[in-house]
C-alpha cells in the first residue's frame, strides 16, 4: 500500500528521491568524465591525423579571430595546421576540419558534423570525386568556388548549396591559415 499523502511524507519522499538521484548522477558523471574526455580527444586526434601528413608529437591547440569569427586550430610541427571551420549548409551548420600543410596547400578535409539532406548534401562525407578535389589543392593557383560561381570545383550532383558551403568553409580556413602565417612568424 502506498504511504499516506501527508505533507511530511511527501516532502520526505521527494527530498529522499532527489538526494539519491543526484548521488547516482553525480557518481556516473565522475566515473565517465575521463572516458568522455578521452573519446572526444581520440576523435579530434583521428581527424587531425586524417587531414594532415604524418607528424610526430601532439598538435598544439590554439584560437584565433578572423573577421570577427573565432576559429580553433591545431598546429602540428613539420606538418601544418588543422583548422576547424563552420559555415551554413542546406540543412544547418556544416563543420569541417581542414588540414593545410606548410607550403600552403590543402592536404585533406574532413566533415566533423553536418545536417545535410541524406542522400543529397550528405554525400559531402562520402562522394570520393568531390572530396578528392581538395587534396593537394593550391589556393594560390585555383579558386575555391564551385564551377557555377566561376571557380574550379565540381559540385556534388543536385547539391550545389552544400558544395558551396563546403567550399566556403575551406576558403575560410585558408584565410585563417594566412593570418596564422603572418602573425605566427614572431612566436616561432
Amino acid at each position: 500500500m502506498a504511504a499516506a499523502s501527508t505533507l511530511k511524507n511527501m516532502a520526505l519522499c521527494l527530498s529522499a528521491v532527489c538526494l539519491i538521484c543526484s548521488a547516482v548522477v553525480g557518481a556516473a558523471y565522475v566515473v565517465t568524465a575521463n572516458p568522455i574526455a578521452e573519446a572526444a580527444q581520440a576523435k579530434t586526434t583521428a581527424s587531425i591525423a586524417a587531414v594532415l601528413p604524418a607528424f610526430e608529437g601532439t598538435p598544439e591547440q590554439g584560437n584565433i579571430q578572423v573577421d570577427g569569427v573565432d576559429y580553433t586550430y591545431y598546429k602540428a610541427d613539420d606538418a601544418g595546421y588543422a583548422i576547424i571551420s563552420t559555415t551554413s549548409g542546406f540543412g544547418g551548420a556544416l563543420t569541417l576540419m581542414v588540414g593545410i600543410n606548410d607550403d600552403g596547400e590543402i592536404h585533406n578535409t574532413t566533415v566533423l558534423s553536418h545536417s545535410e539532406t541524406p542522400g543529397l548534401g550528405a554525400k559531402c562525407t562520402t562522394d570520393e570525386h568531390f572530396m578528392a578535389q581538395f587534396r593537394g589543392f593550391d589556393p594560390d593557383e585555383k579558386s575555391l568556388l564551385v564551377k557555377k560561381d566561376g571557380g574550379d570545383l565540381d559540385a556534388i550532383t543536385a547539391s550545389t548549396i552544400t558544395s558551396r558551403a563546403y567550399a566556403k568553409a575551406v576558403a575560410n580556413a585558408v584565410a585563417v591559415y594566412q593570418k596564422l602565417k603572418e602573425g605566427g612568424d614572431d612566436d616561432e
Binding site: S88, G92, T117
Partner: protein
Amino acid sequence: MEYFLIIVSAIFVNNILLAQFLGICPFLGVSNKLSTATGMSGAVCFVITLATVVTYLLNQYLLVPFGLEFLQTISFILVIAALVQMVEIVLKKISPSLYQALGIFLPLITTNCAVLGVAITVVTKDFALGGNAPHMLNLGQATVYAIATALGYGLAMCLFAGLREHLAGCDVPKAFKGLPIAFITVGIMAMAFLGFSGIV
C-alpha cells in the same frame, strides 16, 4: 532580418512536427477535431515559449557557470513539469475562461517532447541561417524561435485536423482505418512541406 529567417525556418522549413518529429503523440491524439486541435496548439504555444525562456535562463546562469551541463535533461524536465503545474494553478485563478479552453490539455503537455525538445535545442545547437556564421541563439532569438516553432506546430496540427475531419467521412479499407491512414496523410503533408527546404 535574422529574426525573420528564424521565424520562416521554424514554421515552414524545419517544421517541428513534419520535419523534426517532435510532439507526434499529442498530435495524433487530439487532431480528430479542429476545435480541440486549436485548443491544444494554444496551450503548447504558451508552454513552449515560457519553458524555453525559463530553461534558457537556468542553463545560462546556473548550469553553465558551475559546469553542470550534464544535468540539462533532468533539470529541464523537472522545471517544465513544475511550470506546467504552476501555469495550471495560476490560470485557474486569474482567467477561468482561458483555463476552460486550455486547461484539459495542460497535464498532457509535460510529456510532450516538443517542449523539452525545443528547450534542449536552443541551448545546445548552433544555428546556421542565411549565410551567417553559425552561433548559439541569444535570449531574444531563442524566444522568437520558441514562438515560431510553436506556431509551426499549431499550423501543422490545424491543417491536419481539417484533413482528418474529412477523412472520418471517407470510406477507407478496413485495415487502413484510424491511425494508418492518418500516418499516410501526414506523410504526404510532410512531402509538401519538404518543398520549403532550402529557402533560408
